[in-house]
Symmetry: C3
Subunit: 178 residues, 3 copies
């Protein structure tokens, strides 16, 4: 267990969860999964907010500025007019990493043909990696299992803290530098 | 058979087909495929136009405004200077759905390595789902078979009419809401 | 062997290689691979430059204007702040071909889960096809093997010279026109 002050942002983006109509299952699913993945201690920074692009952007920027090396969102990635999470993510990121969305859609396609409707993406803002996840707990886990092996090395590359995973749960991959 | 006034736009985008040099095989292939897929009655709105970005945009907007829930284009997605269908599509859509292009290229790659040259995409303008298809009848069917299971649910999500498919031909998938 | 004056640009983009700290292995790997692939004689136009977006753009434009039908870059596609090769590529291209990046990431994913961190892309500027490759010689070859079968036809489509491959090494695919 290292203690280099790791903060991870978790944002459940949902009109109905933010009004208390739905229980915040996606946020809890993400937190529980990260607790299983990570040997490193981390402090979760947790929000449930409605599908408002301005507010999503503001929350992403705040979490990045407070030092979250990883910010994970759930929800708001579909084709409906209220789905604006990818728009907010692209607006605040300096670099977009299309490989995350491609791989997550490919994994979800094994389960549901509607996976192609998800516009989920990932990107870098300053020293934060932002990843959009779907809204359903089962799909959240499938997507995180697929992309998380690349997350600790990505955070190394952008100057963030060293994330140590529990290798019995998920194996982080760090290529040897040339 | 329901009759909730379903309109579907079909646009064959091709300089030579629009001049009558080529027969409009792609448009006919799309119409024939949709007739096989759909149990719902629908009214096709049909155009054959040259590879002019302004005209493509104008046609997409007109079809969307007249109420087409689905607009399918063929042709104009390659790397040649005259190929401008994806540009026109991106210009008129509020949301781009990258999963459609990814899946269609992946399916086409099973047949031809040049599938990676296709820039075909899909997106939402107001209450219309716009999908770019390739220009060859065989590839059109391969691509439609791959993405169509997600189309009726996408149209539900953007407030369009309920599309019922013939499940012996293609099975639409509608996830249960959480 | 035809001799229609084929020029191919090869750019190793690396701060350390451009300072002589690293040997230019990626550029040599690309040149050696192209020599194996191509039966057509070609003249390589070769540069090793630092990760500066302005300089990358300037070099891509120069190579395109001098008539290179194909320009291959290596390096600078990751999430680090100094990685700006895709930005430069997108800035100088009139058309982006997302299928190249999708396929190269998919192929690299068979070897390393960090393949999703690569933002490598491809596009067209005038009569030049520009392709971003990774920085490691092994990954360079894996990526080129995957996409090169589509390269000669792409160059045909944009009005470039006829590239003839050694079919024992790599088989170019040219679909019959409809």
């Amino acid at each position: 267990m290292d203690l280099n002050n790791i903060q991870i942002g978790i944002i459940n983006i949902s009109d109905r969860a933010s009004q208390g109509i739905y229980e915040d299952l996606p946020g809890k699913a993400i937190l529980s999964t990260l607790n299983q993945y990570l040997d490193s201690a981390f402090e979760p920074v947790y929000r449930v907010i409605p599908d408002e692009q301005d507010l999503i952007e503001k929350t992403l920027i705040e979490m990045s500025e407070m030092g979250c090396c990883l910010i994970v969102t759930s929800g708001g990635t579909g084709p409906s007019p209220r789905d604006v999470t990818p728009e907010a993510t692209e607006a605040v990121c300096q670099k977009i990493l299309p490989g995350f969305g491609e791989l997550m859609r490919q994994v979800s396609l094994k389960y549901v043909p509607t996976a192609i409707l998800s516009r989920q993406t990932a990107g870098i803002r300053d020293k934060s990696l932002i990843i959009n996840l779907p809204g359903k707990p089962k799909s959240i886990r499938e997507c995180l299992d697929a992309v998380f092996p690349a997350v600790p090395y990505c955070i190394d590359l952008i100057g963030g803290p060293y994330l140590k995973t529990d290798e019995n749960v998920i194996k982080a991959f760090r290529p040897k530098s040339t």
